[in-house]
């Protein structure tokens, strides 16, 4: 136990938490926007895979990480808009078509990688680029804090900034409020002249953008290659982070940090004499418990509201 505490309170551990939280918080923020827009996106996992694969391949052939980033994110947005098209135009079930796109991403990426490299496990034989790691001047020389705050991947900072940006967008701008209005009650939104369909497209498109950044981080930051199904369920853990975070940007970030900490801990605990499988379960068990906790809190809120309503009536 002493060993565990020692690990948890070290600067390297907290830096590691930020590293593993990045690919959870980015898709989670995307999922949050689509959830609040009333079109919950279950295809985050597939979108991340597509972005991760495209980014790596384009960076290999253009020798530019920036072109890889742009191409990956564009593909992610296209993929999300494909989901929107099937749901909104062809009236396909949102959940089922999202599941289909996840399967398409899992199979399609490996199909393409196999065509190009004759290797089904991933692109480790190709030389791909990585997004830059940023040393913040002055800050990097501060003991402890410098080790945590400085030297992270560009996209880790993007993830933190995105949390603030999404919060401002959703609560402080007109399009954000419109988007939430559509999610809350499409009929009411339509009655005051808000373009419902446009906002649903927007919500899914933005979720594609953010999930795409998460995917790019996985293959061009966290590691430097694309591997089969490398998202490993992060797109779904991201969904859980939205619920645990009470469907707010800050809450989502905190929930993602909790999952990140569980994940980082599982890596650190690997050195101890606990079977690795149990340690690997931690994020998933945490997700499951968080689902129940969130549901219980929600129910409590509803009951409270009912009680208040009844009291108001009797008075």
């Amino acid at each position: 136990m002493d060993q565990v505490l020692h690990v948890v309170f070290s600067a390297t551990f907290i830096a590691a938490v930020l590293r593993v939280t990045t690919p959870i918080v980015l898709p989670a923020l995307g999922g949050l926007i689509s959830e609040l827009g009333g079109v919950g996106n279950i295809a985050l996992e597939g979108i991340m895979l597509v972005a991760a694969c495209t980014g790596v391949l384009i960076s290999v052939y253009t020798k530019s990480e920036w072109l890889g980033l742009v191409a990956g994110v564009l593909m992610a947005i296209l993929f999300a808009l494909l989901l929107a098209f099937f749901h909104l135009e062809l009236r396909a079930d949102l959940i089922l078509s999202a599941i289909a796109l996840n399967i398409l991403a899992s199979g399609g990426t490996i199909f393409v990688v196999f065509l190009l490299t004759k290797d089904k496990s991933g692109t480790s034989t190709l030389i791909s680029k990585q997004m830059p790691f940023i040393q913040i001047p002055v800050v990097k020389d501060i003991p402890v804090i410098g080790e945590i705050v400085s030297g992270q991947n560009l996209l880790t900072y993007v993830a933190l900034l995105a949390t603030a940006a999404v919060a401002i967008f959703l609560y402080r701008t007109r399009p954000g409020v419109h988007l939430r209005a559509v999610g809350e009650n499409p009929e009411a939104a339509r009655s005051v002249g808000i373009n419902v369909r446009f906002n649903q497209y927007l919500a899914l498109g933005l979720s594609g953008l953010l999930a795409g950044l998460g995917g790019i981080y996985l293959s061009m930051g966290y590691v430097k290659f694309f591997a089969r199904d490398m998202t490993a369920g992060r797109g779904f853990i991201a969904l859980a982070a939205i619920y645990l975070g009470g469907k707010t940007p800050l809450g989502t970030l905190i929930a993602a940090l909790v999952f990140g900490a569980a994940d980082a801990l599982s890596v650190q605990l690997g050195n101890l004499r606990i079977p690795s499988q149990f340690v690997q379960m931690i994020p998933y068990v945490a997700t499951l418990i968080s689902l129940v906790v969130y549901a219980l809190i929600q129910r409590q809120r509803v009951l409270q509201r009912q009680r208040r309503f009844r009291q108001a009536q009797t008075v």
């Binding site: 279950i42 099937f86 135009e89 062809l90 009236r91 396909a92 079930d93 959940i95 089922l96 078509s97 599941i99 289909a100 796109l101 399967i103 398409l104 899992s106 199979g107 399609g108 490996i110 199909f111 196999f114 065509l115 089904k120 369920g233 779904f236 969904l239 859980a240 619920y243 079977p275 499988q277 149990f278 690997q280 379960m281 998933y284 068990v285 997700t287 499951l288 689902l291 129940v292 969130y294 549901a295 219980l296 929600q298 129910r299």
Partner: protein, 378 residues
């Protein structure tokens, strides 16, 4: 005007027989349209895959010959097809139960592992007389599958917890727990490979090859169990009060609640029964296919049940046909990979396109209205 006053008008005198005939012909026409839509979807997605291969400069004819004739090209491949179809039919049925209540359980994967594990404990370590050595483990596995399916069911119906996230998380947990049991419990000490001992001979499902004196690979009498399950699930959904409740909830949950159905209990039960059915697929993999536990015994079967159920339009009686069809594609894909060096992942792509097209309501409606217009004209 005169015609409306004649007594033969159905609105005036209700002709029971004519009405029944009308309903029956209408139902027949719907079934034909459903079948046409499904077939059209399949052909379209295969054509799309063909086009992709053509564009990529592969030899699509060679690839498709392997894909579409492969499973019948050798008798052992046919055996592989039957073996795979058995599993797919069972998990397809499992998904059908939840789908009928408009619930998306993705828990079949974990439930298969649970079923295989529970059955393995009995089948490997407990000697039992014939028949009982198969029946008891199946019942135990179904009970375990029932409980593991009930968990996300209760979470969904009583707490409103997202069933997709909960079933997927449960799968991840179960897969890791299974992995732990595999390395630390089931594999004998000092064994070379990571695998359990064989199940007791009395617990093995008889191989079809032994019965028919042909090299039918690992296919076994599990296929008979699967077909029995088809009938059981059909009776359950079409001929019992529970089935009526499930279908009513699927059609309109609010109406079902208003009509006095305990929707929460029924939904939870639908999840649990789906789990019980899926666990039988685990028993089939254990006692029929591998005859022992191996790592990742149900790997790659996570979403296959959904395709089978969707293709069957949630009709349990159609599940054997769609299960056979889809496993034909899967096995054909394996052969295509060997013979034409086209990745089996193209089958996943075909699978995704099939789901997308089948759920695209507009396309289905378009076919229906077109058909009606043609019928009216003709």
């Amino acid at each position: 005007m005169a015609a409306t006053l004649t007594p033969t008008n159905p609105s005036q005198s209700f002709d029971r027989q004519a009405e029944q005939a009308r309903v029956r012909s209408e139902r027949r026409r719907t079934a034909v349209i459903d079948l046409a839509v499904t077939l059209g979807t399949v052909v379209l997605s295969l054509a799309l895959a063909f086009l992709v291969l053509l564009i990529l400069g592969k030899d699509p004819v060679k690839a498709f010959t392997a894909l579409l004739t492969g499973p019948l090209s050798r008798i052992n491949r046919t055996g592989r097809w039957i073996e795979d179809a058995t599993t797919l039919i069972i998990i397809g049925l499992s998904v059908t139960i939840a789908f009928r209540a408009r619930q998306f359980s993705l828990g079949a994967l974990g439930q298969m592992y649970v079923g295989a594990t529970v059955a393995a404990i009995l089948m490997i370590y407990v000697p039992m007389p014939p028949v009982i050595a198969i029946a008891v483990p199946i019942v135990a596995a179904m009970a375990a599958g029932f409980l593991i399916g009930l968990l996300p069911g209760l979470m969904k119906s009583y707490l409103g917890a997202n069933e997709i996230v909960s079933t997927l998380m449960l799968n991840e947990i179960i897969v890791r727990f299974y992995d732990y049991l595999m390395t630390n419990v089931f594999t004998p000490k000092g064994a070379q490979a990571l695998r359990s001992e064989l199940v007791q001979p009395n617990s093995m499902l008889a191989r079809l090859g032994d019965l028919f004196k042909a090299n039918l690979g690992r296919s076994n009498i599990g296929i008979v169990f699967a077909l029995v399950l088809v009938v059981v699930v059909w009776v359950l959904l079409a001929r019992t009060p529970f089935g009526y409740e499930v279908r009513t909830i699927g059609a309109n949950e609010r109406f079902a609640r208003y009509g006095g159905i305990n929707t929460k209990r029924t939904i939870a039960l639908a999840f649990a029964l789906g789990g019980a059915v899926a666990s039988v697929a685990g028993v089939h993999l254990l006692a029929g296919v591998h005859q022992r536990l191996i790592p990742g015994i149900a790997a790659g079967l996570g979403f296959e049940g959904i395709v089978v159920a969707l293709l069957a339009r949630n009709n349990p009686l159609l599940v054997p046909i769609t299960g056979l069809f889809y496993s034909y594609l899967r096995v054909g894909g394996e052969i295509m990979e060997q013979e034409a060096s086209v990745g089996i992942e193209i089958v996943q792509v075909i699978q995704a396109v099939i789901i997308l097209l089948l759920t695209a309501q507009v396309l289905v409606d378009w076919v229906k209205t077109r058909n009606r217009r043609l019928a009216d004209r003709g």
